[in-house]
């Protein structure tokens, strides 16, 4: 699936959700719960039937150093965009560290196969454009379960679109190579999560809600770079008021997504979707 068809897909989905928006009276952060739950079931089946078995086969076939190398190469390529996001978030020191990581790992680490930079004390960061928007004050917006890609907020869906554009993987000219590369990334990412096992099954009364609440807290923690809000401030009893205060920014996020989609649509051309969707599964953003 090319970037544009991914965009088209997400765009139609959001429009659909907007049309179907019916307050189900549940969690105020999840007004589209009904549709989201259906997509969640779809994603879980897709994972159980296709993604997880493939990842398990990969885990069994490729020795650990190979898997680690593959993970590292993808992670290395991301470091530039992570650095830019740190810069956009006003963290120049972290940004320099990320860019140095890229420089070191691309050379000493032989095209990113070895994560030498971590050994040298340059810690890997986790940033994306959704977080940057969060730092800039854009509210979460409603929770969205994207097919294939997993949980997002509306803001993070916008961020995800920008991330997709920024990813160098999309700029590989040769289409088969690009698809294989993306497919490998999906499998490698999923394989990294195999050790999480069926934690969701074991821990959750309601898997959908557990994953949603985990995702939302995780994003909050990432935006704050791990500095945590004391748990009583996260209490659901005050969530309603904070949502109300966030409405303006949320409308901002809505508009942002649609402006970006607007810009993307004229560029649409016939594209053959391929099974290379970069997929995120259950609580995976770690």
């Amino acid at each position: 699936m090319s970037k544009v068809s991914v965009l088209k897909f997400i765009g139609s989905l959001l429009l659909l959700l907007n049309l179907a928006a019916c307050a189900t009276g549940g969690n105020p952060k999840d007004p589209w719960e009904g549709v989201n739950r259906k997509i969640f079931v779809f994603n879980e089946k897709l994972d159980a039937w296709a993604l997880k078995p493939v990842a398990q086969a990969y885990d069994a076939a490729a020795p650990l150093p190979v898997r680690t190398g593959v993970s590292n190469v993808f992670a290395n390529v991301e470091d530039v965009w992570i650095g830019l996001n740190n810069l956009l978030q006003g963290k120049p020191v972290a940004a320099v560290s990320d860019l140095s990581r890229f420089a070191i790992n691309s050379t000493l680490g032989i095209l990113g196969v070895f994560d030498v930079a971590t050994e040298l004390g340059l810690e890997k960061h986790e940033e994306d454009f959704g977080q940057t928007l969060g730092v800039w004050g854009v509210g979460d917006g409603p929770y969205v379960m994207l097919p294939f890609f997993g949980p997002r907020t509306l803001r993070d869906t916008g961020g995800f679109i920008v991330d997709t554009f920024a990813s160098p993987l999309g700029y590989i000219d040769d289409i088969p190579t690009r698809n294989v590369t993306r497919g490998l990334k999906v499998i490698s990412d999923r394989a990294d999560l195999l050790s999480a096992g069926n934690a969701l099954d074991e821990a959750a009364l309601d898997r959908y809600a557990y994953l949603r609440d985990f995702y939302l807290s995780r994003r909050k923690s990432l935006i704050n770079d791990g500095r945590r809000v004391r748990s009583n401030e996260e209490d659901s009893s005050i969530a309603g008021t904070s949502i109300a205060m966030d409405t303006d920014v949320e409308i901002g996020a809505h508009r942002l997504v649609f402006v970006m989609l607007d810009r993307a649509y004229p560029a649409l051309h016939a594209d053959v979707p391929a099974a290379d969707a970069s997929l995120t599964v259950a609580g995976t953003d770690t």
């Binding site: 969690n27 074991e202 821990a203 009364l205 995780r218």
Partner: protein
């Protein structure tokens, strides 16, 4: 003679260190470190756990790990505001079921253990602190480290963990919305019933 004295002193100091190492009034970071090392050691040597025997893992957790936790405080925090309106009997049942749920999830996670190492960060604290957070990092070859933080509270019985944050997310608070909705829909007894059914379902599954 002097040599003997210094050696004796050293042994005494070491011995004292070992003794306090086993004591409940450890500093919180030492406590977490010892507990983690103890668990890692068990995981490395216990063949039944390595084979994925969840029931056995659960027994080990119950005998070795449970006393580090304050389940009443954890349950109160997960239930949120409604905790105050629960009767003493309901509170006891909630805490019991929640404990079972957490122990099971934790046991299951442990059977997935593959050579992770745990790095517990030293804690800076004031002598007057009654609530502290101990930070740790779980490292696994070929994967990004995962931050695990423990909130501890000082009790008459030593420091007790009352919340665990995985990658910045409170495992206790994560239940709050689900529990809240369950209580809203079918009351505190409804929540106890759901938890009980969830725990019971798993026992049947395993047979």
């Amino acid at each position: 003679m002097l040599k003997f004295l210094t050696r004796f002193a050293m042994i005494a100091v070491l011995g004292a260190g070992l003794l306090t190492g086993a004591h409940a009034e450890d500093a919180p970071d030492v406590l977490i470190k010892n507990a983690t090392n103890e668990i890692v050691e068990i995981l490395k040597t216990d063949k039944a756990i390595q084979a994925g025997d969840v029931k056995h893992t659960q027994d080990v957790i119950e005998s070795k790990v449970l006393h580090y936790f304050d389940f009443n405080k954890m349950t109160a925090s997960a239930v949120g505001r409604e905790w105050r309106s629960a009767s003493a009997d309901q509170k006891a049942q909630l805490a019991k079921e929640f404990q079972t749920l957490l122990v099971r999830s934790y046991s299951n996670a442990l059977t997935q253990y593959k050579n992770q190492t745990v790095d517990v960060k030293p804690l800076k604290m004031q002598a007057s602190d009654v609530e502290v957070t101990v930070k740790s990092e779980v490292k696994q070859p070929g994967a990004k480290p995962v931050a695990i933080d423990y909130d501890l509270t000082k009790t008459a019985d030593g420091w007790k963990v009352y919340d665990v944050y995985v990658a910045g997310v409170s495992l206790v608070a994560n239940y709050r919305d689900t529990f809240g909705q369950e209580i809203k829909a079918s009351g505190i007894d409804g929540l106890i019933k759901s938890l009980h059914e969830k725990n019971a379902a798993k026992v049947i599954e395993k047979k």
